[in-house]
Symmetry: C2
Subunit: 345 residues, 2 copies
Amino acid sequence: SRTISLAVIPGDGIGKEVVAEGLKVLGAVLPSDVKLETRAYDFGAARYHATGETLTDDDLAALKAHDAILLGAIGDPSVPSGVLERGFLLKLRFAFDHHVNLRPGKLLPGVTSPLAGKDDIDFVVVREGTEGPYTGNGGVLRAGTPHEVATEVSLNTAFGIERVVRDAYTRAQARPRRKLTLVHKNNVLVHAGHLWSRIFAEVGRDFPEVTTDYLHVDAATIFFVTQPERFDVIVTDNLFGDIITDLAAAITGGIGLAASGNINPSGDFPSMFEPVHGSAPDIAGQGKADPTATVLSVALLLQHLGYDQEAARVEAAVAADLAERGTGTRSTSAVGDALAARVAG
Amino acid sequence: SRTISLAVIPGDGIGKEVVAEGLKVLGAVLPSDVKLETRAYDFGAARYHATGETLTDDDLAALKAHDAILLGAIGDPSVPSGVLERGFLLKLRFAFDHHVNLRPGKLLPGVTSPLAGKDDIDFVVVREGTEGPYTGNGGVLRAGTPHEVATEVSLNTAFGIERVVRDAYTRAQARPRRKLTLVHKNNVLVHAGHLWSRIFAEVGRDFPEVTTDYLHVDAATIFFVTQPERFDVIVTDNLFGDIITDLAAAITGGIGLAASGNINPSGDFPSMFEPVHGSAPDIAGQGKADPTATVLSVALLLQHLGYDQEAARVEAAVAADLAERGTGTRSTSAVGDALAARVAG
Ligand SMILES: CC(C)[C@H](C(=O)O)[C@@H](O)C(=O)O
Ligand SMILES: CC(C)[C@H](C(=O)O)[C@@H](O)C(=O)O
């Protein structure tokens, strides 16, 4: 019998609520010969206030021992902007080298896009997760004065780009349409842009069956609105990926449905799965949060661990549930119960 | 009698076609006691191929003598990406210190947004135009090798942020809703982000009647799709502004209608007005391009030069024309003729 050792990070706000439902569905879908061992970690705003810690070396060592991580949401208005983002979320992505940030943009049956007449949206964004403008590089001079200068340095390496671009080609190769779009801004950010374009072309030689194209990030946002069906797989830089995946969520039914995986394909470190949404403190503790994005993140987790059938069952359960949802509102746990019943049944 | 000395840069592709219509409307709307003197400049791909030049010191000196600049579009696939963008467009914006990049996002009557059920979109983006990731700062190490490293440095100064933020507050103060939203990513780009947030708060003390809020750029793209009516004036960094103004164009009827001004409010250098769209080589020379974005850019130009009534007449003509457009297609010059007739009549 097999065992999955899962680190669970409920986090802040609605994070706790949605993670509970994700675990409910995970428990229900796993074959009976698979043992699920979970350990919860109390990272987030409360721990930061109590101890001043966001993520220590000991924490990282403990997390490393797991097969995967399920995260709810981290962040609270009581903590200054950037502290938990840089000190926890990004620290973890960088420490565990989560260079493939995977974010599907799929309009599931039963979901109405805010885009009039669009019902055929099914792409996946492969966002680089460990480089670009996210490295924290940069600083300030003459802080707090009228002469302050602040810099942000985007760091991009051939090594870092090659591996994520290759991952994206591999995913494109495995999809029916076999199309890969590079999104960047190589007419302005010429140094990084040309490096991305060079590697994109070079790696492409190993994937002759994959059709490629290139879009500037600004133009890409237009096509997300006017022609989202043109996209199959998109590969892009960390910051552009952050922006366009929120837009992708918006056009495919909203942030309540958007799943993500922070993946280290090497397996040297556990990968992390989390809904794209935040901790939504305004509705926390009221049982109002939609756990669907977390449940879909559980599907990505299952896929990553090789449980493809189970992943497909979770996705199918979500699709079936969405198709019947209508406009009534159910509580967070009611949605989780319904999904768990579907995957079990 | 007054004179307007206008530099005209038709540029590449459809640039030439749309600029001709912009001038037609400008000529028709100006009072008879205003003399319009235009001088055309041949910047763009053809000149680059012939001479290797994009924009020389002499060119800049010549342009400086004008009251304003009207630009069509610059760019052609025959020129490597970045050469004309950095060598002409951005060089000019930087040389003439066009720090207020003004881009209205307004759904005009008669235009259907691709967003289902949204008919109330009327905001303006004030994009910083001379700093941020657009400075060209950065470089490459070990170019062309598997060990290449490329950097892009975003430069941000209190001086540069203060002036554009103040401009945005002033515009917000003059609008009925008096609301200003700062868009950045201060939870990740903490150095630049905190500088923007500090200046935004400080300048705000001089505008007690303006309501403010803050959105991360990723979240802003969601609201553009789900709740565009929430925006009044937006102020943002150069790159975020580039991205969200294309998105703004997409939700308000497309890039064929999106106008922009590259403004230097000091008057030390002429400001430049241009449609947001590019040179569209695929449809160039066929009379298919929609000149409306250029005509609306002419309205911004008129406003900038103090011809408020004439600007309003151009806008009204466009609105009236749009309301009657239906689905038939007219040629570029037919649209220009119709608009010129309306503003004259
Ligand atoms: C919270 C923030 C650090 C994060 C990011 O920018 O990556 C979030 O927006 C996301 O997309 O996961
Ligand atoms: C062509 C390019 C340099 C330019 C920019 O990025 O500013 C364009 O996209 C724009 O928005 O005017």
